[in-house]
Amino acid sequence: MITGLPVVYGIRPFEEEATPSCALGTRGYTSDGRIFRYARAGEALTAGLVLQAPGEHTNHQNLTPSAAVAGATSVTLTLGATAATENLYAEGYLVVTATAGNGIYYRIKGHPAADSSGSLTLQLSDPVKVAITASSKIDLVKNPYSKVVVFPYTGFTSAPIGVACIAMTSGYYGWIQTGGPGMVKADDTNITVGAKLVTSNATNGCVENCADGAESALPYIGDALTGIATTENGMAMLRIDN
């Protein structure tokens, strides 16, 4: 696996692989400047559909830690009523949400499995910058490019992070597109050329015109480069990560 500069040029976005060749989240460019991120499929994916980061576990938020001094490279905390599998949060983030040390987050290197409401010690990639106390509150957040899924039209459990370029196999690794001219799929309404596009409120993985105030509250994906007929695929200027 490449572990250096997290940018890869001249990628081939139409390929997938069972073993990762880049770090999750690595940014990739084609020779014409289209932008991609390296991700792992959390389920079978369909080309042209908007994808979501892995769902949050609300029982792994607002957690109480043990004190950790500045410079510590691990933090121990007590989980809520959901167990954690080994390295569920590896390459994800430990987020300090309330005093002390709040406003700072740390990349997680790894951790063992832990039972529901059990104690969990997380190894960090960087040392603690500001001491954490037993009054601090912690959220655990998975790497957004790990086990991505089709974006649900209702009941989102995370944010949109790209569009599938190919039909990807569950558990495989590959590139998802985040910026520049790319493919999207219209839901049950026609897409108007030049329209601001948001995630559909009717069909999983699809997009629709941002036509009113309610739709302005939906996640923004990009702008239509052409008109697109109902339920068909077409081209948009993606702006998820540009």
Binding site: G194, G227, N233
Partner: protein
């Protein structure tokens, strides 16, 4: 022309050239981190104007695939809709919109002159990932950075950047897509306000002030207040 890494640092965005020096769409950064894209100008451009990709060609959408193409094929024969010059769609995209093979798109390497209701072969940069049948339909889309124009009040494609100089038609140069940029205001901009493409004045932006304007394409956030019809600084995010 440079054909390798599509990111160039320390560019001079105030130059233009009659000769193409980089890939269309190449990303450039100035020394202070402002972000640009390399384009071909589709008309005479005015500095500070919001720009749009070339207008869609609805006559070249929903086209039939003239002959089935297998996985791995490097060309696709398509029955075209109208008269189009050779290679107008070169470096653009062949977009598969309905089965089979839908959801995928391919960068076009070259094509001959197109004629109405006549099959033409499109050479691709990448091999087909999913086979196409004669039931598949495709759209032809120009490279959005080829022949950019002033953003019209009534959109015919998507905004792609802001002109940083007065550009000469058919020349090549840089347009800004990110960071502090000078942009034309349709009406007064309030400092800190989210700004969208104007639907009243070509090349301008306006404040996203209500449900209607919030539905227009987002361009950036005002770094200062800007008076009506004047140019001012926006934190651009295209």
């Amino acid at each position: 022309m440079l054909t390798g890494i599509p990111v160039i640092y320390g560019i001079d965005p105030y130059t233009e050239s009659s000769i193409q020096e980089h890939n269309l769409g190449a990303i450039g950064f100035s020394g202070d981190g402002r972000k640009f894209r390399y384009v071909k100008f589709g008309g005479t451009l005015t500095a500070g104007n919001l720009l749009q990709a070339p207008a869609e060609d609805t006559g070249e959408q929903g086209l039939s695939v003239a002959a089935a193409a297998a996985i791995g094929a490097m060309s696709v024969s398509v029955t075209c809709g109208g008269t189009v010059a050779a290679n107008l769609f070169a470096d653009g995209y062949l977009v598969v919109t309905t089965t089979a093979g839908n959801g995928l798109y391919y960068k076009i390497k070259s094509h001959p002159a197109l004629a109405s209701a006549t099959a033409a072969s499109f050479e691709l940069y990448d091999p087909l990932v999913v086979a196409l049948t004669t039931s598949s339909t495709v759209d032809l889309v120009m490279n959005p950075y080829k022949n950019v124009i002033q953003n019209p009040a009534s959109a015919s494609a998507a905004p792609v950047g802001v002109a940083v100089i007065a550009g000469t038609s058919t020349y090549y140069g840089w347009i800004q897509t990110g960071g502090p940029a000078c942009v034309l205001a349709q009406g007064a901009l309030t400092v800190g306000a989210p700004c969208v493409a104007s639907n009243a004045t070509a090349g301008a932006i306006e404040v996203a002030a209500n449900d209607s304007t919030e539905a227009q394409v987002t361009v950036g956030t005002a770094l200062t207040g800007v008076a009506t019809t004047e140019n001012g600084i926006l934190n651009l995010s295209l």
